[in-house]
């Protein structure tokens, strides 16, 4: 068996984005300038409280920006990905692609 050429690509995964909901939130925001809280909640299929909690963590890490405003009399919360968040997501995706391209390990021969 030959040793791998470098460190396993899992080391390149972003710790914060290894959480499924946070990963989905960042994926949802990655293709738009900004998106409304309710749209992200419905797309990611989580409750308001779960999304609030995960967005707070992403905001704390500087990955997501939260902007509150009003449309008419309705309060609105807009979420957007920061430059740091975008970079982290890009690195995380690259690591996932590297892992996805790894050959499935062959089971050891039974003696």
């Amino acid at each position: 068996m030959t040793a791998p050429a470098g460190p396993h690509p899992r080391h390149e995964l972003d710790e914060l984005l290894t959480h499924a909901v946070r990963f989905s939130v960042v994926a949802a925001l990655s293709g738009v300038e900004r998106a409304e809280f309710a749209l992200v909640r419905d797309t990611v299929e989580v409750s308001d409280s779960v999304l609030s909690k995960q967005v707070a963590l992403l905001e704390g890490a500087g990955y997501v920006e939260v902007e509150k405003g009003k449309v008419g009399r309705r309060p609105r919360t807009w979420l957007s990905l920061t430059a740091d968040g975008e970079q982290a997501f890009t690195r995380h995706l690259a690591a996932l692609r590297a892992i996805a391209s790894l050959a499935v390990a062959q089971p050891a021969e039974e003696s």
């Binding site: 738009v32 409304e36 797309t43 990611v44 996932l96």
Partner: protein, 141 residues
């Protein structure tokens, strides 16, 4: 997801990210409709201003219809749930194009060609063209 993620799990995560991204992006593709509506609106406004000969009637009708139209469109845009990336920068030229043509056509045609369909019909099409073309291009993105 854990640090011991398998290749299969990584592939599933990538596929899920692509689906989620696309779903939200789809909500941000409203600018095409907005541009097409304004393109046709500017063209119709030019026709109204050029074909009605009575000054007070055309100004009254123009202001009433245009203000209502703009308010409805702005309200509609403000209720969209996502905005596409670099949208403002990408579409600014089309908006400037229609606005400048609107001003030029009105400057050249008002009074001189008042009520003449042969001037105002092609002029209206010319005014609408930048936003309609921009809207159609935006829709294809």
């Amino acid at each position: 997801m854990t640090n011991e993620i398998s290749p299969e799990a990584a592939r599933a995560a990538l596929a899920s990210a692509a689906t989620t991204r696309e779903a939200v992006q789809a909500e941000g593709r409203w600018m095409a409709t907005y541009m097409l509506s304004f393109g046709l609106g500017f063209g119709a406004a030019a026709l109204l201003l050029g074909l009605i000969e009575n000054f007070w009637l055309r100004m009254g009708l123009f202001l009433a219809i245009w203000i209502t139209f703009v308010l409805v469109m702005v309200r509609w845009a403000s209720t969209r749930l996502a905005s596409a990336r670099t949208q403002a920068r990408r579409v600014a030229g089309w908006w400037v194009g229609t606005s400048v043509l609107f001003a030029v056509v009105l400057f050249l045609g008002t009074d001189r060609f008042q009520g003449q369909l042969s001037y105002w019909l092609p002029a209206a099409a010319l005014i609408a063209a930048p936003l309609v073309i921009g809207g159609l291009l935006e829709r294809r993105k």
